[in-house]
Symmetry: C2
DNA sequence: ATAGTTGCAAAAGCTTTGCAGTATG
DNA sequence: CATACTGCAAAGCTTTTGCAACTAT
């Protein structure tokens, strides 16, 4: 199990190295540290959380570098950027992680991932129809999760 | 034709009035002015653009009021809020305007609207599966529009 | 009358930038 | 060794907030 994980990280780093070389960018320790930290987690995070995560033990990496590296990683396709609410950008690792979309509870802000093959059909069809070469997409469904819905029902029947 | 438009605005204002009354909010001149300005245009705009639009002739409405009213209008369902890039929130009128999604050129930032019935199927299916009561969605396709794609092809064949 | 709204300016929050020092290729 | 990157702090932008004045109900 651990070997599979390590193998995966080797592959991810290789991808990043290839990207940096293609772009003529340097392979700095900070960039790899950030990459590793991002791939340690499976959930969403924002730049500030990543900044603290990276600086938890010993290391020091500035916010500027965190933002700069996130930009590179998004460009390289190794990290995805999302804007859920009106708050800050959310990021998540993207490589070797199945393509998925998000359903967000408008009340408790919980985010659940899902997959639906129809989205691929839409991308193909609309790309043809509108003459776009589609490279990516983002689908957000908004609504009330089960527990929030229950609470709302309770409140509704209790008062007024 | 003009009558149809006027009729539509009467309906929109009525909707807004109903919302304000339900929420116990006041029906101020500023709020209706902002609503009218929004419904005069069919494209997307941000809060700053709306602020200037509202203050073009005579009237004076502050940014705070613009933001405050946009919030109300989004809550009432009369206006939709989108986050396309990393820039500011984009808004557009929502009532009586067919449901649609957006395809965005990552190079020139052009935004085109489209409809696909499959999105409704996804909403219904995922709502059931994940026990969410879906209220809305946002689908963004990202890619290269025809003209940007052509320019890229030219650049690619010209240099290196 | 009185509670909600407005306008203003200041503050807040996220992200970017300029510059001097540092490290990579 | 030249150039690109980092860290820091300051600036930039969008959006929110506090407060006094105002106004719809």
């Amino acid at each position: 199990m651990i070997n599979v994980k390590q193998q995966h990280m080797v592959e991810v780093r290789r991808k990043f190295i290839a990207f940096l070389e293609k772009k003529g960018q340097r392979k700095t320790a900070e960039r790899f540290l950030i990459l590793d930290k991002i791939y340690e987690r499976t959930d969403h995070f924002d730049a500030e959380a990543l900044y603290h995560l990276v600086n938890r033990q010993r290391h020091h990496v500035s916010r500027a570098t965190v933002y700069n590296t996130l930009e590179l990683l998004v460009d390289s396709g190794l990290v995805m950027r999302h804007q859920f609410g009106n708050s800050s950008s959310q990021y998540e690792k993207a490589y070797g992680y199945r393509q998925h979309d998000h359903i967000i509870c408008v009340r408790c802000r919980k985010v659940v991932e899902f997959c639906d093959p129809r989205i691929q059909q839409i991308k193909t069809r609309m790309g043809e129809l509108l003459h776009f070469k589609i490279t990516s997409h983002e689908l957000h469904l908004h609504g009330y999760c089960e527990s929030c819905q229950q609470q709302i029902d309770l409140e509704g029947s209790a008062s007024q």
